[in-house]
């Protein structure tokens, strides 16, 4: 009976250890594979980032702020700071 118990415990510990090792190594491996874009692709990805910013500029809108708007915005900023303090 005692032997059976210790065998069950051993089996459990063994499974847990092997499970941990397998999970850790597969997580590590998949991180290495997925985390970095292939070197050849990196310049293109950075260029895509740049193009996005150009698109942002195309959708821009410039509206000069009136004195009241400036005052209101400033008050809002100061009030916000005081509230968080």
């Amino acid at each position: 009976m005692k032997d059976d118990k210790s065998l069950t415990r051993r089996t459990f510990i063994k499974t847990a250890v092997i499970g941990t090792v397998v999970a850790t190594s597969s997580a590590g491996l998949s991180k290495v594979i997925t985390s970095a874009a292939p070197k050849a692709m990196q310049p293109r990805m950075h260029t895509n980032d740049d193009i996005q910013q150009e698109k942002v500029m195309l959708g821009k809108e410039y509206v000069l702020m009136t004195k009241e708007e400036k005052k209101e915005m400033l008050q809002m900023l100061i009030r916000g700071y005081k509230e968080q303090a």
Binding site: K14, T20, A37, P43, D49, D50, K60, L64, L74, L77
Partner: protein
């Protein structure tokens, strides 16, 4: 020996072999784990030790003062070893009664990109292939949109396909270009439009971060805990100003070009996958200095100061100049203002 007894003996032997193999595997796994842990814990290599510790550290904003000090000490040791010089990592918190604001005179900017290069140098951005830049200067055509030309164009009268303002510079309605390479600047009939992080009061990038690695500091600067960033790039998609950059690969920062005065939330070297952006040069402004771009601008187009101080440059600009904000309609409340004399 009977046939039955022989069978029992064989079964026992087989069971013993399986047991031995299991024990062997078990012992090897435990030994490998303990060995790996010991190697990393007691490693002479500062990077390995730091990496191990960094895996288990908290988000910076949730750390106690003691934990912050330890994290900073680990990084200082690691960077000093990696770059072969004394590297300091500052952990200065936001100053009291300070809310930073920035103003840029769009009329004065000559598009020389001195600010861009000063920023790269100061903030330890990745240098080669490609160089990451936090400031983009976009060349725009000057021009005017004439309302009286709206009814012109061709074909005439009904069914106009092309308006009278087409094919001529109509100012900001035409596209910008940031890969311009003229021999001299400023060029004729263009103006330049630098863009960087607007340090929004209601930053969309902060709202979308699934792990809260990016957050707004009390002095208004939006920062990133690079160690806590999982590289999902949600913030990049959310930013309407496209002010954030991703390290798509391992950043490359030559040892001789590394700026050793760093801040934990600012210009310390980043890792693969981490997102980065302008922090108003946190490491400088929290120690009473101007951001690098403000210092470097040869025409004095950039102004910086405390929005809570009525005597600061940025407040004077807000009071006396014609000011506009980029994409103000999105209600992100940027603290980066563009102005005209």
């Amino acid at each position: 020996m009977s046939e039955e007894k022989k069978e029992i003996e064989t079964e026992k032997e087989a069971a013993a072999t399986v047991e031995e193999r299991r024990d062997f595997l078990k012992n090897m796994s435990v030994a490998a784990l303990v060995g790996a842990a010991t190697l990393l814990m007691d490693s002479e290599d500062a990077e390995a030790r730091t990496t191990w510790a960094e895996w288990f550290q908290k988000s910076y904003r949730l750390m106690t003062e003691e934990e912050k000090k330890k994290a900073i000490a680990r990084l200082e040791e690691r960077y000093s070893e990696e770059y072969g010089k004394k590297v300091t990592v500052d952990g200065s918190p936001a100053m009291k009664d300070v809310l930073f604001g920035y103003a840029l005179n769009i009329q004065k900017c000559i598009g020389c990109r001195t600010c861009v290069y000063a920023c790269v140098k100061e903030n330890n951005q990745s240098r080669n292939n490609p160089e990451l830049q936090w400031i983009r200067v976009i060349k725009m055509e000057k021009g005017e949109f004439f309302t009286e030309d709206m009814d012109k164009g061709y074909p005439k009268d009904y069914g106009i396909e092309v308006g009278g303002n087409a094919y001529k510079s109509a100012g900001i309605t035409l596209e910008g270009e940031h890969y311009y390479q003229p021999e001299t600047v400023p060029e004729k009939d263009v103006f330049y439009f630098p863009i960087q992080c607007m340090q929004c009061e209601k930053p969309p990038c902060v709202k979308v971060c699934p792990v809260r690695s990016t957050y707004r500091e009390p002095d208004g600067i939006v920062v990133i805990d690079y160690n806590w960033c999982i590289g999902c790039r949600m913030c990049i998609s959310a930013c309407p100003y496209w002010a954030r950059r991703s390290n798509w690969g391992e950043p490359n920062l030559p040892v001789e070009e590394m700026n050793p005065k760093t801040h934990y939330l600012g210009n310390r070297p980043r890792m693969n996958g981490a997102t980065e952006k302008c922090t108003f040069c946190l490491q400088r402004v929290r120690n009473g200095r101007y951001p690098a771009c403000v210092e470097a601008c040869p025409v004095g187009a950039r102004k910086f100061g405390n929005l809570l101080d009525p005597e600061s440059e940025v407040r004077k600009v807000l009071e006396n100049k014609r000011v506009f904000r980029l994409k103000a309609e999105l209600n992100t409340y940027p603290k980066f203002f563009y102005f005209i004399d």
